[in-house]
Amino acid sequence: MNRILIDLQHITKSFDGQMVLDDLNLYIRENEFLTLLGPSGCGKTTTLRILGGFETPDQGKVIFDDRDITNLPPNKRQLNTVFQKYALFTHMTIAENIAFGLKIRNKSKAYIEDKIKYALKLVNLEGFEKRSPDSLSGGQQQRIAIARAIVNEPKVLLLDEPLGALDLKLRQDMQYELIRLKNELGITFIYVTHDQEEALTMSDTIVVMNQGYIQQIGSPEKIYNEPENAFVADFIGDSNIIGATMIQDKLVEILGIRFPCVDTGFGTDRPVDAVIRPEDVILSSPDKGRMEGVVTHLIFKGVHYEMEVTANGYEWLVHSTGMFPVGTRVGLDVDPFNIQIMNKPASEDEEAVKTDE
């Protein structure tokens, strides 16, 4: 494991009496691609702005490279930010934009020119030196914003929803670009987004946030497969979150039917939430499943069919490559290791969000 580069300790921040971050603790390792993921207003952008130096926390410390930088202004920090809407200097050429930070540091002319060439090559925009930012497309402007930040050789690159304004295809291309950049540069990336797919694709570590609290920290696989609470389960992908009773270790009762599972340590006869991903529901003929239901909706989604199946009073969301027309009676089953057991929400911010995302 790499050493810890940034350590946020007991960060608290409120705006106009509204608590945005409440006792946030988080460390970030060197060379890590860490994503702060959450819905708008969850505090992810405020966290990033505190790291960049644009906000000062009401309480708590920001430790960077074993130094307390809590009150250091942005221009004295060894991090650079890529802003959501690029924030390029429109009165300068592309070359002048990229050279901005280097000129302030009084680097030699030859060094600056080398760096501009290198950075433009890195973001695949060679020969753009003399162009004006206004003449570039959104994707190109974002690459320039990245180039402008990385020529300063920061230890950490902060990215504030940098792909938010781009269309889907470009966004996917840029995701691969960012992964490549991170590997070539060997620096730490801290990435803010509300897009769970983006987070899953690029990150080494995902920090899921809601209402100023960290909900779960973990690798993309862990966050997806083993969500710790209903909020995380619901925010990361689609899922069926069903009230259930833990009968004993490795046995759970869902909607009156007993399912074997792999979770232990929840006690006996305790109310819990069971999370089952739609792609983990197995549909078969009515007599074969553990539960029987009727297909009520069917949508073709390209890779798979999305179906809603009513069974034992619950409307299950099911993704399957097999197609079952509306009205078909089907059997439902779930493999034991695909049932994720969670404790019931302890507070409001852990509850599943009802959004249209």
Partner: protein
């Protein structure tokens, strides 16, 4: 089809501008380029080189330049303060700032006359406090004061407008890349507000250059600007030809100013008033 209909809606404006802009402009050019017998001459234009006229033009240029500079130096910090305020605060300040403009221009200037007079309000207070009197009425300084007072809002609004258009993240980006406060100002803020500055300069400089009311009221008959000379040619000497000729010369200066504006102000900041 619909386009022609919409164009028809502009008719009243076109008629208005024909009668009150194009025709008078044509008349100015006709009078300016002819003598009393109606024959073509450039004498009215050339007469600007006579010592009396060139002195009035020179003084007008000097005073309006000084007034513009003072306006700029006052307006820029003020605009920055306004821009840094929250919306509900700044709209109140802007209101206070614009409120005097709802009063008649003549009245406001006459008020300054009363304030600055030898036995006026300011001097009464000064003598009451045992301080030496302020003797600037009927001097070029009083005229500059009047110009700055009357035209300052025209400098503040375009500069404030261009400042408020700067994305805060652009400032943050500059800070993020290592720029300190002064560097951000000179490398980012100032260059990005050049269009607003140029618009402000135009909107203060042109009315200041051509004014005759401010110089009449605050300069007495002792300070003669080119605007006063033109006015006198029309109202007292009844020499419309000479007055028009000098007006055309003034127009040239304004034209130069407007060309400079057009070069710098591609985004039309000045048009947002």
């Amino acid at each position: 089809m619909n386009k022609t209909k919409y164009k028809l809606l502009g008719t009243p404006y076109f008629i208005w501008s024909a009668i009150f802009i194009v025709v008078p402009l044509g008349m100015v050019f006709y009078y300016g380029l002819t003598d009393r017998s109606g024959t073509f001459t450039l004498e009215n234009l050339i007469s600007v080189t006579t010592p009396e006229h060139s002195k009035a033009l020179g003084l007008a240029l000097l005073l309006s330049f000084a007034a513009t500079l003072i306006c700029l130096l006052l307006a820029y910090p003020l605009s920055m303060i306004l821009n840094g305020m929250k919306v509900n605060q700044h709209s109140f300040i802007v209101l206070i700032f614009i409120l005097p403009m709802w009063m008649n221009f003549l009245l406001r200037t006459m008020a300054w006359q009363t304030l600055l007079e030898k036995t006026g309000v300011i001097n009464s207070i000064l003598s009451f406090l045992g301080l030496p009197p302020l003797a600037i009425i009927n001097t070029p300084y009083a005229i500059i004061l009047g110009m700055v007072y009357n035209f300052l809002p025209f400098m503040v609004l375009p500069i404030y407008n261009s400042l408020s258009k700067i994305d805060p993240n652009v400032i943050h980006a500059a800070r993020d890349l290592g720029a300190g406060g002064l560097q951000v100002f000179f490398k980012i803020t100032l260059p990005l507000t050049v269009p607003g500055i140029i618009s402000g300069i135009t909107m203060v400089f042109i009315p200041a250059l051509t004014t005759f009311v401010i110089s009449n009221l605050l300069g007495g008959s002792k300070v003669l600007l080119i605007g006063n000379v033109v006015e006198q040619e029309f109202t007292q000497a009844s020499n419309w030809h000479l007055g028009s000729g000098l007006s055309i010369v003034l127009m040239l200066f304004i034209l130069v100013n407007m060309v400079i504006t057009a070069v710098f102000d591609r985004e039309g900041e000045g048009s947002v008033l």
